[in-house]
Symmetry: C2
Subunit: 418 residues, 2 copies
């Protein structure tokens, strides 16, 4: 079979499986997830042998230590995957929830029932644990999933899929509900993106170039985020200690992630009191500051920000800092340079807190909290399949509910329309 035929057949089988998945009971899904957790441990040796093939190939190709670390299915990573499966089993089942029921003037009773989306296509790089995490969430939400991982993790991903499929089969669930595409050819991604008759949603996870490629070539709806350029605006009457803590946490706790802080905006009235304090802490923590002219006037030792430092995702210990006249200038700056990911204000002014919450367009808008909280787990979604910074269907961290939708249901007793 050609790559095209192979993937088309897999997708068609996934679509068939999706019909069965949609009507599985919560118990059956939870038992399958628990069984997967058990089988992962029971088959650890096999999985780690296959993982070793990827690691050996990676070493040969000269992958960095960090890349190899992301690839490795150590005992710790294996245990975390098992734990993740049990956590998903413990989450409430979103499918079947009925809401908004009301009787209409015609006499029909109309409401909405939550249902699975169908077949999810997942395109991702590197970390093989995504295979298990994504499969677990899709299964719990009653979907089938077709996974396409990075070529450097192909043996690991196929081994994990094999074990997950064994678990499904042992529970009389169609194994086609979880499939990993077995070829590493790049063409596979293009084929997937054209299968709109079988796939209902594509979720890409990886670098910006992968995500752009998927978004530009897909005929299937895509949930995506390109980057996280998060701002904190320290308002005129902010608490300086609180603001310092929030800036330090946002910038230094884990600088390489999408909800880390990239640009600090400071009200001019608080700048001379606040900037020296926060700059001292930042510099002690090894952060490079790139300031606007007014920032440099207060902190002559820092580097000048270049025009393209505004709106830049450093993912590193670098922070752009700008002094602004007021809330409006801060919000204008965010509207121009933000990435609709996460934006925060630090303020004790009630009116400004409300305006910021209402008027800033981002998937998460915060008052007096660190941008690092922008996360499915922290927001109470239980687990996260990704983040969306476009507004259709989902905006922000996506959990189980975002892998479902609602249909209308109607109870009548013979009504016809006049």
């Amino acid at each position: 079979m050609t790559v095209q035929e192979t993937i088309r057949t897999m997708a068609a089988n996934a679509k068939k499986a999706a019909r069965m998945m949609a009507s599985l009971s919560t118990n059956a899904k939870n038992q399958a997830l628990t069984r997967m957790a058990e089988t992962l441990i029971a088959r650890k040796e096999f999985i780690q042998q296959e993982n070793e093939k990827d690691l050996a190939a990676g070493r040969q190709k000269g992958l960095s230590a960090a890349m190899l670390d992301r690839l490795a299915l150590s005992d710790k990573v294996m245990a975390a995957m098992g734990e993740g499966l049990r956590e998903v089993a413990a989450l409430p089942d979103p499918v079947g929830e009925i809401s908004e029921m009301s009787r209409r003037p015609s006499g029909i009773v109309v409401g909405r029932m939550r249902i699975p989306l169908g077949v999810i296509g997942m395109i991702y790089e590197s970390r093989p644990n995504v295979t298990v995490d994504a499969a677990a969430l899709c299964l719990k939400a009653g979907n089938a999933i077709l996974l396409r991982g990075g070529s450097e993790a192909i043996h690991s991903n196929l081994a994990l899929a094999k074990v997950l499929q064994e678990s499904l089969a042992s529970q009389q669930i169609d194994a086609a509900a979880i499939q990993v595409i077995p070829t590493t050819e790049r063409e596979a991604v293009n084929v997937m993106l054209g299968l709109e008759e079988y796939l209902d949603l594509i979720i890409p996870r990886g670098g910006e170039s992968l995500i752009r490629f998927v978004a530009e070539n897909s005929r299937i709806p895509v949930l995506k985020h390109y980057k996280g350029v998060c701002h904190v605006f320290v308002d005129q009457d902010a608490d300086i200690t609180m603001a310092t803590n929030i800036v330090m946490n946002g910038k230094t706790q884990r600088p390489g992630v999408c909800n880390a802080l990239e640009t600090l905006l400071v009200h001019r009235e608080i700048a001379s009191g606040f900037l020296p304090v926060v700059a001292g802490e930042l510099i002690r923590a090894g952060v490079e500051i790139r300031g606007c002219p007014r920032t440099k006037a207060l902190l002559p030792e820092v580097k000048a920000a270049a025009e393209d430092d505004w709106g830049r995702e450093f993912l590193d210990l670098i922070l752009a800092v700008k002094v602004v006249d007021d809330l409006d200038e801060a919000m204008d700056h965010i509207a121009l340079h933000g990435s609709q990911h996460t934006e925060a204000i630090v303020t004790n002014n009630y009116k400004n807190s409300q305006r910021f919450l209402r008027e800033v367009d981002a998937s998460a808008v915060m008052v007096n909290a660190s941008t690092r909280f922008s996360d499915g787990g922290q927001f109470g979604l239980g687990a996260e399949i990704g983040i969306s910074t476009t507004k259709l269907h989902a905006y922000g961290p996506m959990g189980l509910k975002e892998l479902t939708c609602k249909k209308f249901i109607v109870y009548g007793d013979g009504q016809i329309r006049s």
Copy 2:
């Protein structure tokens, strides 16, 4: 300016306007809608003059009487548009609604706030009243809208846009919130579909070929439905009178619309009692029946259904009829031939009603009611901007809420992540 430049500038202006629209008060939006209703009437003569240019051109081009009728802005249509504007003003404002607030273990309080989508692109054919209806719903939901109507209605659409913009300006609202593209060149659609930096959503309304073109060429998310192939399944223990009424209403009340009935599925145990009754009524109403072999065995006078009559959208007084063994065969037929629009069962069996509601994948699933109820107004959405038969973001009739989304909001008092 080229077509490309013109449309890009309009879209950029719409995006600027969208930021203002998002923070308009409910009162300001309602006053603008009321003002539009008044201005439409005050400027009726101008609008009808411009409409006459389209009608004259249409007559010259040899448009059918039905097409000319759809195009005409008669006094009655003008009054209905004004009434529609007042109805939208009376609907609750979805923007700003806060839900799901809860305190997380970290101490932050997280919830969701409903916000507008931004800029909606609407691509439609024929009826110029869509210009007003769509603009009203988008405005109420806090969005800007860029409209591209059919070339045969260009003078009417531009006249309506002019009047709507005058109303906006009189209320100090940026007139760029409602714009009609002034060129009839086909290229305009392609240009719109590529402006993903400015447009958040495309809604096409028209024939299947227009919608397919938009879906296949858009880089912006599209909410669409291609067609409505609605089935009614008459179960073994259905009430024969109720089933007959529901079939007659679905097929004959308005055969040319997407929620009309196209295929009747009949349980074999009720077929001999039910089919002669319903066939008599259908034939008296001028409906052509196309039956499967088992149907023809009971109704020898009817035409045989061809293979491509299953899943066909007749939009006419034609009904495909098939006898099935049981509920499972009916649901298999619907899964294979349905269009995920509206599906109904007529039954007195509790278990079968619940299975049908749960297991049938369609945007609206009904028990003992006519498929003709599948409509935003009938479902209580107030007004309808279209119907979606794909599952992302919206599934089924779309009202004001479907022109919005939710962002996460966080209230903290200095929390940082550990």
